[in-house]
Symmetry: C2
Subunit: 397 residues, 2 copies
């Protein structure tokens, strides 16, 4: 098709209506691009970043045939009305945050020139945000993602980690789906922590519908975020675009249950590509819901974490939140002297032995061993029988 | 005390009885040391290795006071009768395998100068073996160890890996305990594979007594091995010494369930120190029986394995037994053309959309999209409704 008459093209980059006086041209240009381009369209987003939004939009308006792959977006320009969309959004408490805004989460800029995964990539032209949580407060945020069809175990683990993060003052970021996403928000809320859902549809929509109440709660007290404009439907491709936003917004991604084809693995791949810590929680080998996570850990793409403490250590600066190696609870053995422990180790575990043979194995004098055995019996580690001494079964370790 | 008259010391290193003619002096010297020294006594074993068994024994006989820490072993020399022990062992089908024998598993020599763990270390003076399986046939052996108080899940995993190894022609090595040890032998036997138990007591003893039938079966068809001589009781310290033999005999150690204080972690530490692959199977975070394994994986000391194939890859030479990354089963999506997949990704997951909007999101012509949608409906990936098209829920992925 031939290019339309430039004069006939809607004057989007510099609208002349009265309303536009309150909207700066950069925001208006980016809102326009958000309306005509699919989230994560790496060609359009990359050109926007390199040329500047207004210049690229100008190019699209006046040279719609410059590149065939831009034709669809150019063709939509005439159909969109960015100013009314921005105004309607504002009335519904939805703001459009763009690069350069104080609220812009600069971590997203790491998506520049990072390539594509599943045909999605690059820095969004902006994010539509609904809720009081500011995006520039996400410096310490951690993503918790996983299977929609999670097990009760997985939901328990996700909620526990989210609560630990919340107690440590870390915002939680996830999607809005059933399963792990829901459990992560629930866990953060249970500990009164901030939690944010990044959606594949517009932030004014409730998908899945069953999560309407939770999503409304997040919109009122925390935030819903989307790269897609208000009203946008949840297309599959938008989930793929959305996953990179979750990974890029946060300092690390925890995968709790993901089957082999789970979208959560796409988020993990983005976190890995962005050099952010990828973490995974193990589960039973018999659980298909953990297979994808085990694969990540096995190939070294994710670090095994056992709870919030492990996560905090990995997403914190070196030296902060160092996790003490888990230890078995202290028992009587820990309080023993070196020589008492020598005697303990020299005790038979089955048939009892006389003091002399215990002394021989321990390499100590029988008199000393006899005294130490009395002490060990006193703390229930050794047992005296008619045939001699032996280890108490409970002390076998 | 002053040194005894050398002429009064028992002439162990070169016995003059008629029976000794059939036993070479090196074997006799090592049998003597096996009778007077505790398994894994690093001082005695290290001196034996550096001086030679006969020379060290001669030193012990003639200079019992040379080092105080050797006094106990020297003092026992007069009480042991190595020749009758060897002869009684032979009659019971027990052989004493020493360095230099064709059957000696040279992997054990890696224990030389590798330090001590829990006060045990060094190359054994010899191994007492009962059963037809030759120790020089263990080049491909893999250790499977774990908790005595294993869960049903852990036993299932251990038996499964052992069976996989057995089917691949790999001998299994474990202890003789309840739980994982028992499951490992059971799994190997179920696949008609060789399996070997390294015991903390003499190979003529059944500990635990409940495993008598299994141990007798191993002795008849495979092998029981111990560093401790026949008749020796299972002292705790002998388990610690035994663990290093399991790690050193095998090309890698798999830990299936180990609580934080489990002896299996001691075996894993030995395998790590010997630069043999250490592998661990994950379990639920809620299971105390998996805590020790998760700790190993988390600190990078063990690689997560999900089954026998993973183990085979890690213990095999590079390029052998490469495991195909597990994939979700092929589904209809995998057979799609690039353009059909574009359409699939452009389908809404909730409210249906008309062909035109699907075409717009996909960036394709509506006519082509209409045709592709019919095809996608035919393979149950897309769904036509009165209001338009959407993804079949089962295709959400």
């Amino acid at each position: 098709m031939s290019g339309p008459d430039p004069s006939a093209a809607p004057s989007i980059a510099a609208p002349s209506t009265a309303d536009s006086a309150t909207v700066d041209p950069e925001r208006l240009a980016r809102a326009t691009l958000s309306l005509v381009a699919e989230p994560g369209d790496a060609r359009i987003l990359g050109l926007t970043r390199r040329l500047g939004a207004q210049e690229f939009l100008d190019l699209l308006v006046h040279h719609p045939d410059l590149r065939p792959e831009l034709g669809a977006a150019a063709g939509r320009l005439a159909q969109v009305e960015p100013l009314p969309v921005l105004e309607a959004a504002r009335r519904r408490g939805i703001r459009f945050v763009i690069p350069g805004d104080a609220e812009w989460p600069t971590r997203l800029d790491d998506l520049a020139d990072t390539g594509v995964l599943q045909d999605r990539g690059e820095v969004p032209v902006g994010l539509w945000v609904r809720g009081p949580l500011r995006l520039d407060r996400l410096a310490e945020a951690v993503a918790i993602v996983g299977s929609r069809s999670a097990t009760t175990y997985g939901e328990h683990v996700a909620a526990g980690i989210a609560a630990d993060l919340a107690r440590a003052g870390r915002p939680v970021v996830s999607g809005g789906a059933f399963g792990i996403d829901h459990a992560a928000h629930r866990g953060a809320l249970s500990a009164d922590g901030p939690t944010l859902a990044v959606l594949a549809c517009g932030v004014d929509r409730a998908y899945p519908a069953a999560h309407r109440a939770m999503l409304e709660h997040l919109a009122e007290h925390h935030a819903l975020v989307s790269e897609a404009p208000p009203g946008a439907s949840p297309f599959r491709i938008r989930f793929l675009a959305r996953n990179r936003v979750i990974a890029a917004l946060t300092g690390g991604t925890v995968v709790v249950e993901a089957a082999l084809r789970s979208g959560a693995l796409n988020t993990a791949n983005w976190a890995e590509r962005l050099h952010r810590p990828v973490m995974g929680t193990p589960g039973a080998l018999t659980s298909a819901a953990s297979q994808g996570v085990h694969q990540l850990i096995r190939r070294g793409a994710a670090t095994l974490v056992t709870g919030g403490d492990d996560v905090l250590e990995l997403v914190s600066e070196a030296g902060h939140h160092v996790v003490a190696e888990p230890r078995a609870p202290l028992d009587a053995r820990d309080g023993l002297s070196v020589r008492a422990r020598q005697v303990l180790d020299a005790l038979p575990v089955a048939a009892p032995a006389p003091v002399e043979s215990v002394a021989r194995v321990a390499g100590l004098a029988p008199e000393e061993v006899a005294t130490l055995l009395d002490g060990l019996a006193g703390v229930d580690l050794a047992e005296r029988t008619p045939a001699g001494w032996r280890l108490r079964p409970s002390a076998l370790g």
